[in-house]
């Protein structure tokens, strides 16, 4: 329960901090950290415009998308704080749950019959397919390392007792940061602040959403960042720490993560569209390094 609350609270500020960081670096006037929250509240107070081309699919999609990501939050533990739902193999369920949300959003974008949205939908489908192996190899390696197969036990038994662990920790965090970027269609893959529809991925998919639906989609973005931030924090927080230290560390890590995203976005240019697949596959390659490291730690590969 506490982990759910922590993730929900941190999600409120996440995008605000990113925006603020970017503004600071660009020496622009900074909006409030809660500006995204105000935006969403305003959206909830609005009506909606639906395209005549769309069908029931378009109306269902944001609901399924939101429900899938919200349910995914319930699987995430933080430090010694248990997840609400946990069973063996829950990370498979987690990954496929995000999949059904994506499936619905993609077909909803195609439902509008707009060429631009088709483009975004198609890219989203390809990139999320390419990023899938990285996630599985990474979690699989940790599962092999700890001999546990649910998020909760996985992170509970993650011990920092060998030097090689740092390779796992650093590589995992690196991969998770970028998985979060790909999943949220952020910088090296997609530029959320671009003004050209032809170069967008996620933003162009939701051109026709408005009001309540758009608000849900925005909240999903916060939640997704917060989920990955929580996963990253689990690599760092040790469950032997006192509870308030864990909570403080969690918020610290979320803050650091959002600052990182902000800084990355401010300084990095977007990849060329055709370079994106290659770049995403690179994440899988790094995950394989983690896998090999785990094989060494568990003495399956014996050096010397």
């Amino acid at each position: 329960m506490i982990s759910l609350l922590l993730i929900l609270i941190s999600s409120l500020f996440f995008v605000g901090i990113i925006v603020k960081t970017k503004a600071k670096i660009a020496a622009r006037k900074m909006p409030s950290v809660l500006q995204p929250v105000y935006d969403v509240v305003r959206l909830f107070k609005k009506g909606a415009v639906y395209s005549q081309t769309t069908s029931a699919i378009f109306k269902m999609a944001p609901l399924v998308y939101f429900a899938s990501v919200f349910l995914a939050v319930l699987f995430i533990p933080i430090g010694s704080q248990k997840a609400l739902l946990s069973f063996d193999g829950d990370f498979v369920f987690f990954a496929y749950l995000l999949g059904i949300g994506k499936f619905m959003m993609i077909i909803a974008a195609m439902d509008t019959g707009s060429g631009f949205e088709g483009m975004g939908a198609n890219r989203e489908a390809l990139y999320s397919m390419l990023v899938e192996p990285a996630f599985f190899i990474l979690v699989g390696s940790v599962a092999l390392f700890t001999n546990n197969v649910s998020f909760q036990d996985l992170f509970l038994h993650l011990k920092l007792d060998t030097n090689l662990y740092y390779i796992i920790g650093i590589a995992s965090i690196y991969v998770f940061v970028y998985i979060a970027m790909v999943e949220n269609s952020r910088m090296p893959v997609d530029d959320p602040k671009t003004h050209l529809e032809l170069t967008m991925v996620h933003e162009v998919m939701i051109l026709d959403n408005s009001g309540f639906d758009l608000a849900l989609i925005h909240i999903v973005t916060w939640l997704k960042f917060s989920i990955y931030g929580a996963l990253i924090s689990n690599f760092i927080i040790s469950n032997s720490w006192a509870i308030y230290w864990q909570i403080a560390a969690f918020f610290g890590i979320q803050l650091a993560f959002s600052l990182t995203v902000g800084i990355l976005e401010a300084f990095k240019a977007r990849n060329k569209m055709e370079k994106n697949p290659q770049w995403i596959i690179m994440l899988s390659a790094i995950s394989i390094v983690v896998f090999l490291t785990v094989l060494i730690i568990t003495e399956k590969i014996i050096l010397n």
């Binding site: 009506g47 415009v49 939101f66 919200f70 498979v92 059904i100």
Partner: protein, 660 residues
């Protein structure tokens, strides 16, 4: 008692030819239902008493041929019956379009073969004697051949049918060789039961390989698959559904049956099955993405799903070989459950695709679009099938894939280095297959049903009649049932995998996990419901407007022209996978001197790399030789007499010099 009824039903099939056209369907339906109830009672009985049911069938070669139904046969009988039931219900509406075109005998012949396909599949899974098995296997191939060439007026259909028939016979040769080889080596019974004696005393890999090729051609493992993408589009939809849903699984059945009698040196066999399956899974779905013909696309997805089934079985065999019970149990459980799951969602997809074909007369998805408004129920069921085949929760495809994943992740720690690497490749491939399936089905669903119409063929489409929707409801119910309450299927499943000498603890462990999945799925649906209520409440208080799709401020006269097509959707994937997906462009580039360019056409065609290189290219080379030899065939009788004379002289000379 039931066996006599079964025989009476078989004989009654001949009455089909005597009936006028309008009653044939109903007799067919009655006979199918009779067979379904008889054989299901056997199957349920076998599962209820958890042992083999043996019934004497007919006198055969001096012995009594008996029907032997163990739990594996029982499972397959129930899967076959399920799909045949929906198939025959669907056939009524689908065949209406052919009612006036076809003669009385042609219609009767179709129903007769459909019935015999059913009977032969039931017998394939319940006969053990090798000669009887091969004969009934042949009947299955023949009846499905006649079903495929139903639209005989199309020349292409016949050539596809012949191709299918030839490949099936190559398969049967391998099976025959394998059975005879085992028989000659051991002298034991010429049946499946006799195989275990051969396998006990010999290295099993060689003989298994021959069996695998024989059964693999039926199942459609890459590179043995090339009949599949042709036969499925050519056949009527209820036939493709049955062929893809259950007939190709007969190959899997054969492999499982052979595996049951192998008890040592299993690692290589498991690894071999796994590698073939990974290739089939990955390449099957990759090739599916570039297809425009919806039924061809579904056919490639059958290859992919055979791959997933094979991954489960292959991992299960590796689990037995390496003594990792959890991998063995969950691998087999996932693979076998996926047989049922695939038969459900694939037949659902074929039925709905057939309904679309019936209403629009095109299978080319580029000519469709916006059908969800005209055929909402069909669209909904297609979506259900698409979600299930992509392996997404809370539907049935996820459950079987989850079992396989669980098996892999739970055994990572206890496996050795090599197995770990194999496992890593397996789950990575499963993840990629899942992602690609999602890519493919978002494409096909949205291009057929969403957006606006891409051609005038869509204009007159209406929802199909209710008799064609009944099968969709039945299957849809099963898909949701397995998705939400998978636990009820675990008891029969554990009986089946018990046949493979697997320790059963792992299946018991998985039950609480599946319960958790059910709970999570329940929460998921409740969340969606809650959001729905919230939004309805919110939107009642504000104005909801309708407008055109936002087109970046440009005036769109024909929205269909702006839409993303299936080709453009597949394009970025095509660039990634140009090695395995052979797409040829047909376009003449502009010439520099061409000041006033004429109209140009641009076409792309995709062809199957394996078919091109393994079948078409070699046969073309052989054909060149055959054409040279054809010089001898002059058509003059004097020449033929001369050949005979030369032959006699040759024989004389050879015997004279003691050469033969």
């Amino acid at each position: 008692m039931t066996i006599i009824l079964f025989k009476i039903v078989i004989i009654f099939a001949l009455v089909l030819f005597m009936l006028p056209k309008q009653y044939q369907y109903y007799l067919g339906l009655v006979l199918h239902i009779a067979i379904i109830s008889i054989s299901s009672s056997w199957a349920i009985n076998a599962l209820a008493i958890s042992s083999k049911v043996t019934l004497p069938f007919i006198p055969f070669l001096g012995n009594i041929l008996s029907i032997e139904i163990d739990q594996l046969s029982a499972f397959f009988i129930l899967v076959i019956n399920m799909t045949m039931l929906t198939g025959i219900i669907y056939a009524k509406g689908y065949l209406q379009a052919y009612f006036h075109k076809k003669s009385k005998t042609e219609m009767a012949w179709h129903f007769f073969n459909f019935l015999w396909l059913h009977i032969s599949m039931l017998l394939v899974v319940s006969l053990r004697d090798a000669i009887a098995f091969l004969m009934i296997w042949e009947v299955m191939s023949l009846s499905s051949f006649f079903l495929v060439i139903f639209e005989t007026e199309k020349k292409e259909t016949i050539s596809i049918g012949i191709k299918y028939l030839i490949q099936m016979h190559i398969g049967v040769i391998f099976l025959m060789v394998a059975f005879i080889f085992a028989y000659v080596q051991t002298g034991a019974a010429f049946s499946f039961n006799g195989l275990s004696i051969y396998f006990a005393s010999h290295n099993p890999f060689g003989l298994f390989l021959i069996f695998f090729i024989g059964f693999g051609i039926k199942a459609g493992f890459i590179p043995l698959h090339s009949w599949l993408p042709h036969a499925h589009p050519a056949a009527p939809s209820h036939v493709s559904a049955v062929m893809s849903g259950v007939m190709i699984k007969m190959g899997i059945y054969g492999i499982l049956r052979v595996l049951m009698s192998i008890h040592h040196d299993l690692f290589n066999i498991g690894l071999f099955i796994l590698i073939m399956s990974l290739i089939s899974g990955l390449l099957g779905v990759s090739m599916a993405i570039v297809q425009h013909d919806v039924k061809k696309l579904l056919a490639y997805h059958s290859i992919e799903n055979i791959g997933i089934i094979g991954i489960g079985i292959g991992l299960g065999v590796i689990g037995i070989a390496e003594d990792i019970p959890v991998l063995a149990a969950l691998g087999f459980a996932g693979g076998i459950l996926h047989i049922l799951n695939h038969s459900l969602f694939k037949s659902l997809l074929f039925y709905t695709a057939g309904s679309v074909y019936k209403q629009t007369h095109t299978r080319n998805i580029e000519e469709l679009g916006g059908l969800i408004k005209k055929m909402p129920k069909t669209a909904l069921f297609f979506l259900l099938g698409a979600l299930a085949i992509s392996g997404l929760p809370p539907f049935n495809g996820f459950i079987s894939e989850f079992l396989i994943y669980s098996g892999i992740f739970k055994s990572l720690h206890s496996a050795n280095l090599f197995t770990d690497i194999v496992l890593m490749f397996s789950f990575t491939s499963l993840a990629i297959i899942g992602g690609l399936a999602l890519f493919c089905f978002t494409k096909v669903f949205s291009v057929i049903f969403l957006g606006t119409a891409r051609s005038s063929k869509v204009e007159h489409a209406t929802e199909v009649e209710s008799s064609m929707l009944i099968p969709d409801f039945i299957i849809g119910f099963m898909i949701v049932l397995i998705g939400f309450v998978p636990v009820i299927f675990m008891q029969p499943l554990s009986q089946i995998i018990g046949l493979f000498s697997i320790k059963m603890g792992a299946i018991q462990q998985i039950i609480p996990i599946l319960n958790n999945i059910s709970i999570s799925s329940g929460i998921f649906i409740m969340l969606i419901g809650l959001l729905w209520i919230l939004r309805t409440w919110q939107q009642k208080r504000h104005t909801i407007k309708q407008n055109t799709t936002w087109a970046c401020a440009c005036k769109v006269t024909n929205p269909a022209e702006h839409q993303y097509t299936a080709t453009s959707y597949a394009n970025n994937f095509k660039q990634l996978s140009s090695k395995v997906v052979n797409v040829k462009k047909d376009f003449k580039d502009f010439d520099e001197t061409e000041i006033f360019p004429k109209a140009r056409k641009f076409e792309t065609h995709s062809s199957d790399v394996f078919e091109d290189n393994l079948i078409t290219a070699p046969t073309n080379k052989i054909l060149i030789w055959f054409e040279k030899i054809a010089v001898l065939q002059t058509g003059k009788i004097q020449h033929y007499l001369l050949y005979a004379l030369l032959f006699l002289v040759l024989i004389y000379l050879l015997t004279h010099f003691n050469l033969i």
